[in-house]
Symmetry: none
Subunit: 127 residues, 4 copies
Amino acid sequence: MDFNIRDDLPIYSQVVAQIKAGIASGAISPGDRIPSAREMAADAGVNPNTIQRAMQELERDGVIYTQRTAGRFVTDDIDLIATMKHQLADDKIRQFLHTMAELGFTEEETVKMISFRIQEDKTNGST
Amino acid sequence: MDFNIRDDLPIYSQVVAQIKAGIASGAISPGDRIPSAREMAADAGVNPNTIQRAMQELERDGVIYTQRTAGRFVTDDIDLIATMKHQLADDKIRQFLHTMAELGFTEEETVKMISFRIQEDKTNGST
Amino acid sequence: MDFNIRDDLPIYSQVVAQIKAGIASGAISPGDRIPSAREMAADAGVNPNTIQRAMQELERDGVIYTQRTAGRFVTDDIDLIATMKHQLADDKIRQFLHTMAELGFTEEETVKMISFRIQEDKTNGST
Amino acid sequence: MDFNIRDDLPIYSQVVAQIKAGIASGAISPGDRIPSAREMAADAGVNPNTIQRAMQELERDGVIYTQRTAGRFVTDDIDLIATMKHQLADDKIRQFLHTMAELGFTEEETVKMISFRIQEDKTNGST
DNA sequence: GTGGTCTAGACCACT
DNA sequence: GTGGTCTAGACCACG
């Protein structure tokens, strides 16, 4: 037993993940302008270079594109967004299955427990 | 869009979670002696008081018990352990469903995707 | 007419290009360790971060890989190296054809002039 | 491996090359008046002496001539221009062959690759 | 010693 | 004002 204190992802990776999640969920729409790097950095209390790096990674993935002086924009390529969304989901699923496996549950047990959980939530009102 | 940079759980909560996960998975067996607070604190590079607080929480949940001079031990109550294990799992499941909902997937879609993921993993080797 | 004074590529791109060229030409062999970022930075009189960025780009392209504390190494994937080499060459060719087109030569003229140049070099000794 | 960071040609050489290229390509016609040194220097944000030196070199090559009070003009000698154009092209060709040789390609391979590149460009539209 | 990340602050080009 | 690049220097994890 050892403890993963400070097992943070790098900040720039967190920023990448949050932007992608925002696009996947529809909170940020295709074609939307995203705030300037300086603005985001100030909001997050983080160095602009850190945001810059996150933006570079997003652009490399084709998720955003840059217009010289106008700022950065979410891609209009909805197919790419759909692919990205399923990629994010699949990552979460794998990670979840791994966590459950560590707790000693087989995949079948896990599926049953999820179905049960959903059933329960439906019969009761909300959480 | 705002960024939850550095949103760590308190360290003592992380310790509690890891001990519970260790017991649930069988890495730590019922009746096992747990290392001293001092020892764990040194291992983790953490203040002994932090470990102390985690131990108090575990004892309050009945997961461990203290024998005056001999140290702390994992409970022998396997029903309690089973309950705890399912509680942990259910928390993970709720959290997972919430994440997937944020990505814009319904519970039905989520279940289908998990089943698909398991199927895929089975047909291929590992990875 | 305007003048492209300081039309430099970014330093990190120059570093990337030189490493790739070195690998393509065989000056750096598959599996070779490349100097540490700090060393290269000192050699080039450049900030270590600039080299770091170049290395990240090379790693992203699969041209090099990183071993935690041991340093960075050229990939052993000779197919990837071959592909990279032809990519570099094709880029040079496109750029060359573009330059010649700007001078007012058709592609056919360009090919003839190259063949003539090679013939000349062969009949005379070297340059 | 060492890095030739910032290995610019002297500015006046760049100016010479650009003027020659402009004439070769027809962007500047025989007999055309060339802007004053002062004007070009202002455009390029460069010291007038630098332009002056470039003009001297061009005049020495016979590419331009000076009329005492009227300014500088491109030569009318189309044979000289043709020669200059082929000289420029030959320089580019030599330089290109050298680059390809450094990448490890023989002259024969280079010629084949250029022919292939041209063929490809023809079959597809542009790009 | 290695690479990885981050901060603080600078200068540039573009419009 | 935007993004793009670069420097200087710091701290961390790994072994």
